[in-house]
């Protein structure tokens, strides 16, 4: 019997699941087999974690079995990954199995690492210090908030880059709304401490979002890089010795790639895999590809970006199989709905070269979504995205936007 070639996908999150669904349709399965490995049988809708602390979403809204989204013709292996041996085109799993591959897609994502910050895991962790980037953290925070009667709530981003850089702002906007609804907004101080010099990474969006923070009475503490947490005295201290007191700290810890990337000697200082930002291929190995936030490409670490990477990645893997050079087609396109509270939202659309601009999306002049301004339609867009995510996006279905960003309908 002829030995089949192997496409191996590491990680069955947003990126890995999408690529599995697409490649099973594209590759000749007489010639190829597709294997996907993940240590966890549960798929988390990570954009939904934001809503859990405020009881807008319940756990069942963000958790489903991974097998529901993976094609039958793809072999799914549930195991930790021991090590990737890229020079041998081989991966060793923790369950003892070794898989040789012809093409490898790394979709192992990124995760928060609170251990990186001195004092963060000391006395206050999950008592009056919470993260909302994990299911456990978001759920614990929901329980805490139900009985919290006010005080000083500090949200801090420890260091950049982070997954979904708008999420901390959305958390604050939703918190403003939530405490307002509970009638205790006047008893809550909201503070946002960020290492950036403004509310966001891109100048025009930063200025508009900064104004919104001010209008909502949220204090911005820019260029605050957290050096340590003093959980005994309830304060965070920056590397340049500024101090911020908190009663409740909602923290976005350092984000890093998977530990297996470091074990395999394939990552940068944050365990992200160095890759070409336009072809999505590893800088070192020509049969290794990245999707989503496992790589070091300077695009936002978000599901929408993984989606926009998908078509480029498929084409380049197929080209490589055919002996052709990859095409530099990925432009860093990101598209994010930002919840701004009170059933409104903002939409931003940008790429490596063009910052978020005002306009209408996806139909130029029509919308229905308004770019870089608050509207109820943007909020409903965000809320319906959960359905789209589970039913269309993960399965690699068509979405009404192009992978490359368009300038049509934008006001430069």
């Amino acid at each position: 019997m002829k030995t089949k070639k192997t496409l191996l996908i590491l990680g069955a999150g947003t990126g890995g699941t999408m690529i599995a669904n697409k490649m099973v349709e594209r590759l000749d399965l007489e010639e190829w087999k597709i294997i996907i490995v993940d240590r966890d049988e549960t798929h988390y809708y990570q954009p939904g974690f934001l809503f859990i602390p405020f009881d807008i979403y319940r756990p069942g809204d963000v958790i489903k079995p991974k097998r529901n989204f993976l094609p039958r013709l793809v072999e799914t292996v549930v195991s930790d990954i021991e090590v990737i041996e890229p020079d041998e085109s081989r991966v060793k799993l923790a369950n003892g199995r070794t898989i040789d591959y012809n093409e490898l897609v790394i979709a192992t994502g990124s995760t928060v690492v609170p251990e990186e910050t001195e004092g963060l895991l000391d006395g206050g962790w999950r008592k009056n210090i919470f993260d909302f980037y994990t299911f456990e953290g978001a759920s614990a925070l929901a329980r805490f908030l139900r009985t919290w009667d006010g005080g000083r709530l500090v949200v801090n981003v420890v260091e950049m880059p982070i997954k979904c850089p708008v999420a901390p702002l959305e958390f604050l906007f939703l918190a403003d709304w939530y405490f307002h609804e509970r009638g205790i907004r006047s008893k809550v101080d909201l503070v946002y401490a960020t290492p950036l010099d403004g509310a966001f990474t891109k100048p025009r969006a930063s200025s508009i979002l900064g104004d919104m923070l001010e209008q909502k009475g949220i204090h911005l503490e820019p260029t605050f890089s957290t050096g340590r947490v003093d959980s005994t005295n309830h304060k965070i201290v920056s590397w340049d010795d500024r101090e911020l007191d908190y009663d409740l700290l909602v923290t976005v810890p350092t984000n890093m790639g998977a530990e297996v990337i470091e074990r395999s000697g394939m990552g940068d200082d944050l365990r992200f895999v160095p890759a070409d930002k336009h072809t999505l291929r590893s800088d070192k190995w020509e049969n290794i590809w990245i999707i989503g936030d496992a790589g070091n490409v300077p695009a936002s670490k978000a599901g929408s970006v993984a989606h926009f990477m998908l078509d480029v990645l498929i084409e380049n893997i197929e080209r490589h199989i055919d002996g052709l050079a990859p095409l530099p087609l990925f432009d860093g396109h990101a598209n994010c709905f930002i919840e701004s509270g009170f059933e409104k939202g903002i939409l931003i659309d940008f790429n490596y070269d063009v910052e978020p601009l005002p306009g209408r999306f996806p139909l130029p002049g029509m919308g229905p979504f308004a770019l870089l301004q608050e509207s109820p339609a943007n909020h409903w867009g965000k809320m319906s995205f959960r359905w789209i995510y589970w039913n269309v996006l993960l399965k690699g279905g068509e979405m009404p936007f192009t992978s490359q960003m368009s300038m049509a309908g934008k006001w430069a």
Binding site: E159, W239, D240, P298
Partner: protein, 106 residues
């Protein structure tokens, strides 16, 4: 006492709207001294350890190093780095070294 640094050397150079040197190849140590002087920083031996590392990273990888890269590669602690370049060491070291803003911010 602070020694006077001649910053007129910067007049003929092109800077972007965030005050980063447009062409990294226009940079010399004297340009670095002048940019630092405009930012109110007097460069000492430890600053140069960082700046030389940044230039080396740029020559080898074409990118400005992140703070983590600097602390691992140049043997300078994070705390010391913030003391040397107050306000944002990744950005300010890149600025003085004549490089682009580090791309950690997306």
């Amino acid at each position: 006492m602070m020694s006077a640094v001649d910053t007129s050397i910067l007049d003929s150079l092109e800077f972007d709207d965030q005050n980063f040197l447009v062409n990294a190849t226009d940079w010399t140590p004297a340009v670095g001294e002048a940019i630092a002087a405009e930012l109110g920083i007097v460069l000492g031996e430890r600053h140069w350890v960082v700046l030389n590392f940044c230039r080396k990273e740029w020559e080898e990888h074409g990118e400005s190093p992140t703070i983590r890269r600097i602390t691992k590669g140049a043997d300078v602690g994070t705390k010391e780095l913030y003391d040397l370049f107050p306000g944002g060491p990744g950005k300010i070291a890149a600025q003085i070294a004549g490089l682009k803003k580090p791309t950690g911010c997306v």
